[in-house]
């Protein structure tokens, strides 16, 4: 069975476009809203694309701005200038 990777954000104005971008780029992602936070689960692998977030907010966006609204994650992280991938397996 494919285990979920997860990422959790604060439920804020700043995090919303990131959450929307994840939902747009990861068809199997499901977002659960809890008080003050949103937990996103996705089987096996999840990608956050800089370009998709930029389209949503209409300005340049540095992937590391993610740190401002990130709460938690589970999975192996691989980050470069354009995307972050969270995945199980090598």
């Amino acid at each position: 069975m494919t285990r979920n990777v997860t990422i959790t954000f604060q439920n804020t104005e700043e995090a919303r476009p990131i959450i929307e971008a994840i939902e747009a780029d990861n068809q199997n992602a499901t977002a659960v809203v809890m008080p003050a936070m949103v937990k996103i689960d996705c089987p096996g692998r999840l990608i956050i694309n800089r370009v998709t977030v930029e389209e949503k907010i209409g300005r340049d966006w540095d992937l590391q701005e993610l740190h401002l609204s990130l709460i938690s994650l589970a999975g192996n992280v691989d980050e470069d200038d354009d995307r972050i991938i969270i995945a199980w397996g090598s």
Partner: protein, 506 residues
């Protein structure tokens, strides 16, 4: 990505930050400069094999941390200006954050010290940089918690001398001894204990559902520092996972050493989090999820995925994780019962849960609550109503390893208290579980030195033999900070506020 040849990309920037900063020493042998990173038996052949997944450079680190601080202090300010403490659901909630300030804040500071130490003593520059950044984060967490919670200290009892209490009060020896144990280990064990077992595997249970609960109960200040800290934790978690993979990839001989540390620190951390189980199930007037549900989400699901992923390195899930799962439907009830018994010696209040709260617990724990715990709470409530609020006058026996009173039950019989013991150099030592006994048996020379609060009271080291003397030595205001919530100054103050509020609404 712009193809500007002059602009370095993330990987190049990170490489410049963490490579080539160190040098081979010549006046002194490297082993004398880094005396602690070999005795644990961990073999490292190539320190450059270290890769931090979040390649945060110093300029970005300062920029984002400053931004987090600005946001947090704006919230703290507006919480104070708008009398945010009056908007919480109920003053009983404040007792959970009394535990947070006295128990957790000092751990953050201890983590700052621990990572500063390790950040000096690992000879590879990549992990050194990561540990130094984390040391700064942990100091920030301690400071922001103190600043946030100082607001509550203006109105509520039990917040006044948390630092002093951390070194003395019986239940605070549980978190203190946990961290002292980690800090007195070698640097690799420390990072395995704190970054991996605690931060990666377990702290989600503290900082995620509990903080969400704080938000649900109107405490915007706490949820903000909680999530501000947790945004750093997400980075620390990746460090925790990286340090494990790094050790396992470097040498096969590292595997059994790391496995033993994971077994030990999983159990140590799990026992420590039993306090959080109680906070979630009993101390949030409005609840988000039960301890059992949180355990399922954050350990059973997330942990299973993690340990499946680590199988390829030869690791298995922590020993006794199955026992922790067996205990999920009883843990919070057992711990709340211990504190209900000993509230006269605690710097926070306990109470009889209200009917709707008992109903919630029945619903969340259908197999255990009505059968084993509800009748007990009903009885205690009856007794309290008749003027016989029960306070246990005997000092409890403590587990030598986790230092929690011996109130946990047999894994396969939740009606029978679990006792384990070991004899070392003609002395007998007591444990709450096989997990705690194993930890002692591996390093008895370390744990025979434990500062056990009950033993120290009997030895005359805690201000006297009378409870009143001991409370004075704790700097605990007797009759104010302790005892049942019913009839406490906190309760009277809250009743006055809510009466004024309903008067104003008329």
């Amino acid at each position: 990505m712009s193809e500007n040849p002059k602009k370095l990309n993330l990987k190049q920037r990170y490489k410049l930050l963490t490579r080539g900063l160190d040098w081979e020493t010549t006046y002194q042998p490297m082993d004398k400069v880094f005396p602690f990173d070999t005795f644990e038996g961990i073999k490292i052949h190539d320190w450059d094999g270290w890769e931090d997944p979040f390649r945060l450079t110093m300029d970005a680190y300062w920029k984002y941390q400053a931004e987090k601080e600005r946001k947090l202090y704006a919230v703290i300010d507006s919480f104070a200006q708008n009398n945010g403490h009056m908007g919480i659901t109920d003053a009983r909630y404040v007792n959970a954050i009394k535990i947070l300030l006295t128990g957790v804040t000092s751990l953050e500071y201890a983590a700052h010290r621990g990572f500063s130490h390790v950040g000096r003593h690992l000879r590879g520059v990549g992990p050194r940089v990561a540990c130094q950044m984390q040391a700064i984060d942990e100091l920030r967490h301690a400071q922001t918690q103190i600043h946030t919670l100082s607001h509550y200290n203006r109105y509520f009892d039990g917040f006044h001398d948390w630092r002093h209490m951390y070194d003395r009060v019986w239940y605070l020896s549980v978190p203190k001894s946990f961290f002292d144990d980690a800090m007195t280990a070698g640097p690799f064990e420390f990072v395995t204990a704190i970054s991996f077992s605690f931060e990666y595997v377990l702290t989600n249970l503290l900082f995620v559902p509990f903080m969400s609960g704080a938000a649900y109960n109107g405490d915007m200040a706490t949820v903000t520092f909680g999530f501000s800290a947790q945004s750093d934790e997400a980075r620390h978690m990746t460090l925790g996972l990286e340090v494990i993979k790094f050790m396992l990839e470097q040498d096969e001989a590292n595997v059994p050493i790391v496995q033993r540390w994971i077994d030990k620190w999983f159990w140590r951390g799990y026992r420590l989090l039993s306090l959080v189980a109680m906070m979630m199930d009993y101390m949030l007037p409005k609840r988000v999820m039960s301890w059992a549900e949180a355990w399922e989400m954050y350990y059973e699901d997330a942990g299973a995925a993690l340990f499946e992923d680590l199988e390829r390195y030869g690791l298995r899930p922590p020993k006794y994780a199955d026992i922790a799962t067996k205990e999920k439907n009883r843990l919070s009830h057992e711990v709340w019962s211990i504190f209900y018994n000993y509230t006269h010696a605690a710097a926070f209040h306990t109470w009889s849960p209200e009917d709707n709260e008992l109903d919630w617990l029945s619903e969340k724990y259908p197999d255990t609550f009505d059968k084993m715990y509800r009748p007990r709470f009903d009885y205690w409530r009856e007794q309290a109503a008749a003027g016989n609020r029960f306070y246990n006058q005997a000092l409890p026996q403590l587990c030598t390893t986790c230092q929690i009173p011996m109130g946990f039950t047999e894994p396969d019989d939740p009606t029978k208290i679990c006792f384990r013991e070991s004899v070392f150099k003609h002395e007998r030592y007591h444990f709450c579980s096989d997990g705690c006994k194993d930890i002692f048996d591996w390093e008895p020379e370390k744990y025979v030195q434990s500062w056990l609060p009950v033993h120290e009271i009997f030895k005359g080291n805690c201000g006297g033999t009378d409870l009143k003397d001991v409370l004075k030595w704790y700097h605990l205001n007797d009759g104010v900070d302790n005892m049942d919530y019913e009839g406490s100054p906190d309760q009277r103050l809250w009743a006055e506020w809510t009466a004024n509020r309903s008067k104003a609404a008329e």
